[in-house]
């Protein structure tokens, strides 16, 4: 049994960690956090040059053609560094949707641009409150034009193109939904930035008014494609969350070793030690669940839907748990803008919602486990 990443993949992880330590210091993240730039353009360019943006994109479409296990180890490092770039929207959502459902021409047009860093993509799914569900998609597509409002759209204000979920029927079934591909500089698109929990990653409201759009995938297949895209993104995001959880745990551990109170390292108090031990436990469970997700993703296994939901829940819990208790270990200093703890707290809580909340994924997991047991 070798339920682990290969030596080459681990080497890639080290390479990504080294690159990000250099190019994506907390100081660099703060430029975006403080609103001085919408995202880190230099870093984005560097990621393209390293081949990270196209690592799972086939060579014929301008990528490295490596695979999803390679993407998982890079994702972990992106999460660890809290990178302020539209990596997940572009690579996990837009590019994956294109890979699953795009025509030859669509792939040829957009995937090389993703790999080279020229095009930022995103998925426009949500329309206000609520979790992913066909009934929550109200934006309409008729006669080749889209009308409606998407909100929030991750990285919507900086994206060049979006995969848009639209209503093309009213039967009440999943096949009422179809996907469309839209260049966001098209006429009739209006984009407004929204304040959000994690300013290092933008969120936007996008209004579509008679916007011309081309279908992505067959009409009526939208929900089935979206489900696959969300599952794949859930595994990849889980790796970012695992990376973030590990970093938050490390920060807490380091502070507990450095800080002296009552004449001793605060890490010598059991109340603090045990809190950190519990963080380690949840981070470890999340990592193991995510590895299973990675295996299912990379082999396109029938277990992917269940594995993805488990990875999603476990990694979401772990990142939230580690990020909040990292602040607790730091005490008052953890609640200052100056310390980096809140950046992970913000990221953890934003990520917990971005692909649908825990409520949604818990439901998915149980449905999928029942399906498996019935089979």
């Amino acid at each position: 049994m070798n339920f682990d990443f290969s030596d080459d993949q681990k080497q890639l992880r080290d390479q990504a960690r080294k690159f990000l330590a250099e190019k994506c210091s907390p100081k660099a993240v703060r430029v975006v956090l403080d609103g001085k730039a919408p995202y880190d353009k230099e870093l984005w360019k560097g990621l393209a040059e390293m081949g990270f943006l196209g690592v799972a994109i086939p060579e014929e479409f301008g990528g490295a053609g490596a695979g999803h296990l390679e993407l998982c180890v890079i994702a972990e490092e992106m999460g660890r560094a809290n990178a302020p770039v539209p990596f997940s929207s572009t690579v996990y959502l837009a590019a994956e949707a294109l890979l699953i459902a795009g025509s030859e021409a669509q792939k040829k047009k957009w995937l090389p641009a993703v790999a080279s860093g020229e095009a930022i993509g995103t998925l426009a799914l949500f329309e206000g409150k609520g979790n992913p569900a066909p009934k929550n998609v109200k934006l309409t597509a008729a006669n080749g034009v889209l009308n409606g409002v998407k909100k929030p759209v991750a990285d919507g204000a900086i994206a060049d193109f979006a995969v848009v979920a639209a209503r093309t029927g009213s039967s009440g079934r999943d096949n009422d939904i179809s996907l469309f591909l839209v260049a966001l500089k098209a006429a009739g698109v209006d984009v407004k930035s929204l304040t959000n929990l994690d300013p290092t990653r933008g969120q936007a409201e996008i209004t579509f008014k008679d916007v011309k759009a081309e279908p992505l995938g067959a009409a009526g297949d939208g929900w089935s494609i979206l489900t696959q895209v969300l599952d794949r993104a859930a595994v990849l995001c889980a790796f970012e969350q695992v990376g973030g959880a590990d970093r938050a745990l490390e920060m807490g551990r380091d502070y507990a070793l450095d800080r002296i109170a009552f004449g001793r390292q605060i890490g010598s108090f059991q109340a603090v030690k045990h809190m950190l031990a519990d963080m380690y436990v949840s981070a470890t469970l999340a990592r193991s669940n995510s590895y299973y997700g990675a295996w299912a993703l990379s082999t396109n296994a029938a277990e992917l839907p269940e594995a993805a939901a488990a990875a999603r829940i476990s990694a979401t819990q772990a990142f939230q748990h580690c990020a909040k208790n990292n602040i607790q270990v730091h005490g008052g200093m953890g609640f200052t803008w100056e310390f980096d703890c809140h950046m992970y707290y913000r990221r953890a809580n934003a990520m917990a919602l971005g692909l649908g909340s825990l409520t949604y994924w818990e439901d998915q997991l149980i449905d999928r486990m029942r399906k498996k047991n019935a089979a």
Binding site: M1, N2, F3, D4, F5, S6, L69, L249, R253, A256, L257, R264, Q265, G267, S268, Q270, V272, K273, H274, L276, A277, D278, Y280, V281, T284, L285, A286, S288, N289, Y291, Y292, A294, W295, S298, A309, A310, I313, S314, Q317, T359, W361, E362, D363, L365, I366, M369, R370, N373
Partner: protein
């Protein structure tokens, strides 16, 4: 990344599977499969006899204590082969539970510290289950703080005279031998005055009294020693070095990799899948689903953490203290799972045993669960191990570290 065996592992697995299929006591398979924490497993047979017979059969064919050297009754197998065997043995592995202490702790301690002739005499019948061993460390005054033990060993010619009391000794009532940690010098700090021995549990002056547990069952004992004689050649390690010897024992206890830990989750999921609540199937209830999902990811997290450890073994690495999380997570989880299962039953959840729902399966689990969070290292000790040995945090401040043992206070109040 894959779950595949290497060619050698696959060959070993096939051999093990074929032998188990031809030799295992299949008439008990169903009962063993359905057993879960806190439940007696065999209705119409003495489990001790069935377990001993299965162990002997395995030993005769070279399948007992696989990782031990052949000359001591093992197979000289690799750690990964041991894991593969456990996977293949499946529910029949339940029958090994009474040998866990002997095989997992006493055997390795004997191997590391006993004289060669003792190893050749005592280890093969331990491996074959003909002789059962127990571990006599904990005392009323020393549980988590095991080095606080007070049982005295005093030199008398070529013998040592033992007086004192042990507690929480699993299986002492059916054990033939035991390893015993004693205090040989109370005038030095506590970790320095300890010495380890092994002894015949039938020695004059040894008295075993079962403890009636909070669950009503009796898995553990108190063991009293009154002027018990142990010859010096049964000493394990140097006089005063008992603490280091005991660390070997405890390390082995906690390094059992790949052994499945009970979480109660499969039982709860199965139960909820068919349970009807007042307003519909439990599995369609929003609150039930949320609870199940949260436990599901803990159970799968433990499963795949164990797979990662097995992969490390397969590469020839030695997994370390990070595996403490299995017991820590599973212990409190099974307690929560059982509590919730009874909550779903409403008032009828009060009824236990054969009169209860599912023959009292979850009631038995609930009553046994507190013990799982204490035995073999409490939750708090497990967290200390993770904090200190995995995360590198400082050890607890020990106010009694440099104090002679006989000057350490023994009472908190008055």
């Amino acid at each position: 990344m894959n779950f595949d065996d290497t060619p050698q592992e696959a060959e070993f697995r096939a051999t093990a599977r074929a032998w188990i299929s031809a030799n295992a006591p299949k008439q008990y398979e169903e009962e063993l499969r359905k057993s879960s924490l806190g439940r007696t497993v065999l209705k119409n047979a003495d489990i001790l006899e069935v377990a001993k017979a299965w162990q002997k059969k395995k030993a005769d064919a070279g399948w007992a204590c696989l990782h031990w050297p052949k000359e001591y009754g093992g197979r000289g197998a690799s750690p990964i082969e041991r894991v593969i065997w456990q996977q293949e043995e499946g529910p029949f592995g339940q029958l090994s539970r009474m040998f866990i202490i002997g095989h997992g702790m006493c055997g390795p301690t004997m191997m590391a510290f006993a004289r060669e002739e003792h190893k050749r005499t005592y280890l093969p019948p331990l491996a074959s289950g003909e002789k059962v061993w127990c571990q006599l460390f904990s005392e009323p005054a020393g549980g988590s703080d095991v080095a606080g033990l007070r049982t005295r060993a005093e030199k008398d010619g070529d013998d040592w005279i033992i007086n004192g009391q042990k507690i929480w000794t699993s299986g002492a009532h059916y054990s033939d031998y035991g390893i015993l940690l004693t205090r040989t010098d109370p005038t030095v700090p506590k970790h320095k005055g300890l010495t380890m021995f092994f002894l015949d549990m039938k020695s004059p002056g040894v008295e075993v009294r079962p403890i009636k547990q909070a669950s009503g069952a009796s898995d553990f004992n108190e063991v009293y020693f009154t002027n018990v004689r142990i010859p010096d050649h049964q000493r394990l390690g140097e006089v005063g070095d008992g603490w280091n010897v005991s660390l070997t024992t405890l390390m082995n206890e906690r390094s059992a990799i790949g052994a499945a830990v009970s979480t109660g989750f499969p039982e709860l999921f199965e139960y909820c899948s068919s349970l009807m609540l007042d307003d519909g199937p439990a599995i369609e209830d929003r609150a039930v689903r949320s609870k199940l999902a949260n436990w599901a990811v803990k159970a799968s997290g433990l499963k795949y953490t164990s797979m990662r450890a097995i992969s490390a073994l397969s590469r020839g690495e030695r997994p370390g203290p990070e595996n403490s999380i299995g017991k820590l997570v599973a212990g409190s989880m099974i307690q929560d799972v059982a509590t919730y299962a009874l909550d779903l039953q409403g008032a009828s959840g009060i009824v236990s045993g054969e009169d209860g729902e599912l023959a009292g399966r979850f009631q038995a689990m609930l009553l046994r669960a507190p013990g799982t969070r204490v035995e073999g290292g409490t939750d708090e000790i497990m967290r200390n191990i993770i904090a200190e040995r995995v995360l590198g945090l400082p050890g607890d401040i020990r106010v009694d570290k440099d104090v002679p043992f006989n000057k350490i206070p023994t009472k908190g109040r008055g």
